[in-house]
Subunit: 240 residues, 2 copies
Amino acid sequence: MNGNLGGSVKALVFDVFGTVVDWRGSIIRELEALGRAKGIAADWPGFADAWRGGYQPAMQRVRSGELPWTRIDDLHRLILDELLAERGVADLSEAETDHLNRAWHRLDPWPDAVAGLGRLKRRFIIGTLSNGNMALLVDLAKHGGLPWDVVLSAELAHHYKPDPEAYRLAPDLLGLAPSEVMLVAAHPRDLAAAAGEGLRTGYVPRPLEWGPGATPHAVSRGSFDVVAADFNELAERLGA
Amino acid sequence: MNGNLGGSVKALVFDVFGTVVDWRGSIIRELEALGRAKGIAADWPGFADAWRGGYQPAMQRVRSGELPWTRIDDLHRLILDELLAERGVADLSEAETDHLNRAWHRLDPWPDAVAGLGRLKRRFIIGTLSNGNMALLVDLAKHGGLPWDVVLSAELAHHYKPDPEAYRLAPDLLGLAPSEVMLVAAHPRDLAAAAGEGLRTGYVPRPLEWGPGATPHAVSRGSFDVVAADFNELAERLGA
């Protein structure tokens, strides 16, 4: 099956937060550095998890129409302002708060990501398909050396994944049939929604996304077109 | 001025047809190869010029509302079908006609383009800002090894350049002020419209765009923020 798949799939689009980049490790490092610089002690891993934890509810406020279309940068800032107040981290300037908010533009790739993408790029069109806004995704690529052929964002559809419009964007803009596009993600829910729009699915679990103590997703591996431990193995399996 | 410019400009977005790629030489080569394969004699340079000549009027039909939003791929095909009929080139199959139409996805870069872009990419975000559709631009980048950080197309605005909406797209999606974005183009009209939206302008004349016999644009070089003979000189002037 995987050999055939490598033949019919023309583009791979990647979820980014957690799949390509280690948001948690990167955000914790930035928070700890800020804490040291400002002499603030706090539970920074807990702060990072709460920041990310506010992300789905914030997107839901957009999806429900409570908020108009709002970029992830601005949703991150809404959540951050609440967390800073709630946790008593009060003495940051606007410039410091903005810099901290833009830590999401400076997330480091997982160790296998750049090499695996470089290999996949030789055979496939490779791009993002992320809820991150375009500017954030471009900055992440510059920061981490991610060799995308194309940066696609839910921002272009004004619909966050898992809304169907966000997935339709990729075949539509790439001029491909949905079955010629594979979403690669560490999140079964994202992949299931992509499959619902006719895309192929590549599951790359990232068991450390929520840190060493987190419980991995319970997943039936047979639900996906391909499963790989990392991007190098994905290249192997897709014949790249 | 150029030194300051290099400091305040964060992203360079490039017109593509004629500025980055030699559409005319590439299209003539594809037409000649088809002619040889099919035993058809014709004025292929004239055919190429007429094909490209149909491009502005076709976009005008979209701009005026006579046609709904229509991608360049489909406008190219409309013009091609008329030309094939008009010039009596009749015995092409649908597959051959489609392959010919997609010659616009296989245009070769000007000789300086890849090296110059590679150098500019180290200092700036580099991207397209083209009337070509996304799929076409992604294919061109794969074909020619163009190292874009981001592919932006008029398709994302549903407005063709020189409509203002097409230029506003770049700072908007990159999260930058218009003055932090420079349009690089071989066409004064494109640059003037970009300047009207507050973008910086880089003029790179391509005197061979319409072939060795064509008359170059009459241009006042003082109208642009920077003028360079090719992308290597542009990198030099912008301190990259």
